[in-house]
């Protein structure tokens, strides 16, 4: 039986449930099935759920009980303890007391939770007397007020717990009470035979998050991992295959063209294949020179290439980290579909009589005047494909910068994934492409999704979003416009997502490409294409405002704002 499939089925419900209880978000992750240890654990705020459910318990009860227990740790937990000076017995007791402490606190808020937990405490006989057995019995005794135990130690533990109820929120409570109980158990000559820490009750996690040393160890483990981790550290050495440039990028790198070399220790070397080695096709476009007022024909060469395919699992992972925004967007998309239904009034033929015009017509009849025969109305779907959207992404080197700990490329990728999900649900016709440039002879135009392709089968390509070279915006807009112009819809929208003003290495006048882009945008009007720009960097507002014009751009500093911005764009261009 594959357990993670079961967790996948319940994951969403349990996450909703925990949110309902504690008003904060939790993330459940299945543990790899190769992990034999049946305990779950908490790491960096995520709940890792075990691969196998003990046979005697039902999946639903077990998963809910385990997740609720972990959420109680988060809700009522304190700073981690130092484990170094404690022995195994002491650590085990501190673990137990902490488990009980958070459970009692959680049950104070929601008494019903306890019932589910107690289901896992039932079959503990009080005949056998070993340390493990006593601890299990203590666990039950504290939770279950009606349970009476014959052991004096259990009775004492229960009594101490109840006497100190008011102290439960003290950060040192578990350590103090745990050490005291461990001491008593030690005096009873009851060792922990296994020699290692065991979780006593099936649904509880292994409490590794309680111990400082464990957390540090875990963090170290994960940090060895993949090469992409290094790029998160913001240190990398990149070499392009044509060996023309070597870039060494650092966090406080300022935007601009040219070469920046900085000595780096422990840099990760990454060889990059030039994806434009074999462009599918090339096009030539003009460029506007504002100084001479001349449109230079065939000035720029745009090379079209196809984005590489990626992993769908990774796409789903990214989407699940934004699941709540995605939910909002999906709601919006559904509403937009409803919005497509329009009541057409005052028409000569239709399904229903339009009351107002009918009255007017009857009045006219009585007055012996000629009535207006347009007295019907009808519900009509807006022409299904009345809107085509082309999404054009700026993928220049500057998008590798980090703002607020997240690289701009990552922001763009996440935003476009969310946008694509919404648009495909709203059944809109759209294309996604990106561009970067390396002089006028080499403008890379990467297709991620064509108008005729389905988003569901192309979204993996968006993982190929990465920044390189410069931003020759005008040529890219001209190419996107050509493509959009071929679509047979009544409304066309070009949505440019960029992080700054246009620039290229062969242009030294900073205004030149800005004016060219402005010219390309102005040309769109003649083709009936409406431009709109989502700007991800507030610093380039002035240039963007010039290129796109007032009211045709929006600066977003956080992906979370995307739903609002998107719906506003829709409102303006998609409807009526």
């Amino acid at each position: 039986m594959n357990h993670s499939v079961k967790l996948a089925g319940l994951k969403r419900s349990i996450e909703f449930y925990l949110r309902a209880l504690w008003n904060q978000d939790f993330n459940l992750e299945p543990l790899e099935s190769s992990v034999t240890n049946s305990c779950g654990h908490i790491l960096d705020g995520k709940f890792y759920m075990p691969a196998s459910v003990p046979a005697e318990h039902s999946d639903i009860d077990y998963l809910y009980a385990a997740a609720t227990h972990m959420s109680a740790h988060i809700e009522f937990g304190n700073e981690p303890y130092e484990a170094s000076e404690l022995n195994l017995m002491q650590r085990s007791m501190v673990n137990l007391v902490e488990d009980l402490r958070v459970e009692v606190l959680a049950a104070n808020s929601y008494p019903g939770i306890k019932k589910r937990w107690l289901g896992f405490h039932k079959d503990i006989g009080d005949t056998e007397s070993s340390a493990i057995n006593l601890m299990r019995r203590l666990s039950r005794a504290v939770l279950d007020e009606d349970y009476q135990d014959s052991s004096l130690w259990v009775q004492k533990g229960k009594q101490l717990f109840h006497e100190n109820r008011s102290e439960l929120r003290q950060p040192d409570f578990s350590r103090q009470l745990g050490l005291r109980l461990a001491n008593d158990l030690g005096q009873m000559r009851m060792p922990l035979n296994s020699g290692r820490y065991e979780q006593l009750i099936a649904y509880r996690d292994d409490n590794r998050h309680l111990w400082f040393e464990h957390i540090q160890h875990e963090r170290k483990d994960t940090s060895i991992a993949p090469a992409e981790q290094a790029s998160l550290d913001n240190r990398q050495l990149r070499e392009t295959d044509n060996a023309r440039r070597v870039n060494i990028i650092d966090g406080d790198f300022s935007p601009g063209e040219g070469m920046y070399i900085r000595q780096q220790d422990a840099a990760v070397l990454e060889f990059r294949n030039n994806r434009d080695a074999n462009p599918i096709s090339s096009f030539h476009y003009p460029e506007w020179d504002y100084r001479s007022g001349v449109l230079k024909t065939n000035w720029c060469t745009v090379n079209i290439s196809q984005a590489r395919e990626g992993s769908f699992d990774q796409v789903e992972n990214i989407l699940s980290t934004h699941k709540f925004i995605l939910n909002r967007l999906r709601n919006l998309a559904r509403r937009l579909q409803v919005e497509k239904l329009q009541r057409v009034r005052k028409i000569p033929e239709g399904d229903e009589i339009d009351y107002g015009p009918m009255m007017d017509a009857m009045v006219s009849v009585r007055m012996n005047a000629t009535p207006d025969a347009r007295v019907f109305m009808r519900n009509e779907y807006r022409h299904a494909k009345s809107l085509a959207i082309s999404i054009l992404l700026d993928l220049s080197e500057s998008t590798n910068q980090f703002i607020g700990g997240v690289s701009i490329t990552q922001r763009i990728r996440d935003a476009v994934l969310l946008l694509g999900e919404t648009l495909s649900l709203a059944d809109e016709q759209f294309a996604i492409s990106g561009f970067s440039s390396n002089t006028r002879h080499e403008i890379h135009y990467i297709n991620f999704k064509g108008f005729s392709e389905r988003f569901s089968s192309t979204k993996d390509r968006l993982l190929d979003i990465r920044g390189q070279f410069s931003t020759r915006l005008g040529a890219a807009i001209r190419h996107a416009a050509e493509d959009l112009d071929r679509q047979l819809t009544s409304k066309k929208l070009l949505l440019v997502i960029t992080d700054g003003a246009p620039s290229d290495v062969d242009v030294f006048d900073s205004k030149y490409l800005e004016h060219d882009s402005w010219h390309a945008v102005s040309d769109l009007q003649g083709k009936g294409i409406k431009p709109f720009c989502l700007n991800l960097d507030a610093r380039s507002d002035a240039a963007i405002a010039h290129i796109f014009g007032k009211g045709r751009y929006e600066t977003i500093d956080h992906v979370e704002k995307l739903p609002e911005v998107l719906s506003r764009i829709y409102m303006r261009y998609g409807r009526h």
Partner: protein, 274 residues
């Protein structure tokens, strides 16, 4: 069509006959009274089922004014508010719409969920809501001057849908606003217990369910649980329905169509009533 038994302009039918139960949450009663004295149009904002309509009813009763309520919808045309010509055997006859009647008899006119109406419909309230206080009946060629006691109240729910449907700024800026929200815990318990006739500890549990579900607003649920739904659940419980079943019928099922969400809400109800 024969003549109507009651003339629509007869004010007596619009009075609120019994005092509606309303539990004040803050100073909204005093503020509304002041706004009424100034005949200032008032906008009530808040989620569905938090007591906006009840409040208007209560204030109309308290101020002793007739109340005319219009539930707005997308198909509403200006003539549905202002009035229209009807035909009878004599010929045409003008029939005042609810807004015109309210302006003539000096009632409080309450336009419920005004954003549902199309923006071109709502602009007809503009001349009534500024210093002019008049309503032009364009088709009839009459200019109705509002009765000195006339007041306009609108309600609207600034949820996520307000992005799709919103009032024009020129409409918004004609109103004083009162913000409504779900009542605080103790008040809500009182309301639920009083309205449904259940004991207050049972009402407290229902309110707890509501608080949990409201944590999910915007995270899977479009809207939190309204006080109205809690009262429904309470009423079912007082009629002998088991609490968990009552919650399922009155709270969980109306709130969501998403099976995962239903599952978690049921688990929440179970947690609270187990």
């Amino acid at each position: 069509m024969s003549g109507m038994p009651i003339k629509s302009s007869d004010a007596s039918q619009y009075y609120v006959s019994h005092e509606p139960y309303y539990e004040p949450v803050g100073n909204e009663v005093a503020l509304y009274e002041a706004a009424y004295r100034a005949r200032m149009p008032v906008m009530l904002k808040g989620p569905t089922g938090c007591g906006k309509s009840r409040f208007v009813e209560y204030m109309a009763y308290k101020l002793g004014r007739p109340l005319i309520t219009v539930a707005c919808n997308e198909d509403m045309m200006a003539s549905d508010l202002v009035g229209r010509y009807l035909l009878d055997k004599e010929g045409t006859r003008w029939q005042d719409g609810p807004l015109t009647i309210a302006a003539r008899i000096g009632a409080i006119c309450y336009l419920d969920e005004i954003v549902e109406a199309r923006q071109d419909t709502t602009v007809i309230i503009h001349p009534l809501t500024d210093h002019r206080r008049m309503l032009p009946l364009e088709k009839k060629g009459e200019l109705v001057e509002a009765h000195p006691d006339f007041q306009l109240v609108i309600s609207y729910n600034p949820g996520y849908q307000s992005l799709m449907k919103d009032l024009k700024q020129s409409t918004k800026q004609r109103f004083g606003g009162l913000n409504f929200d779900y009542p605080r815990e103790s008040v809500e318990i009182t309301i639920v217990a009083r309205e449904s006739g259940i004991a207050s500890d049972m009402a407290a549990r229902l309110v707890k369910v509501a608080q949990c579900a409201r944590n999910l607003k915007g995270h899977g649920l479009e809207e939190g649980v309204s006080t109205r739904l809690l009262v429904y659940a309470g009423q079912l419980i007082s009629l002998g329905v088991a609490p968990e079943t009552a919650c399922m019928m009155a709270i969980v099922t109306p709130l969501t169509d998403d099976p995962d969400m239903r599952e978690s809400l049921n688990a929440t109800v179970h947690t609270i009533f187990a």
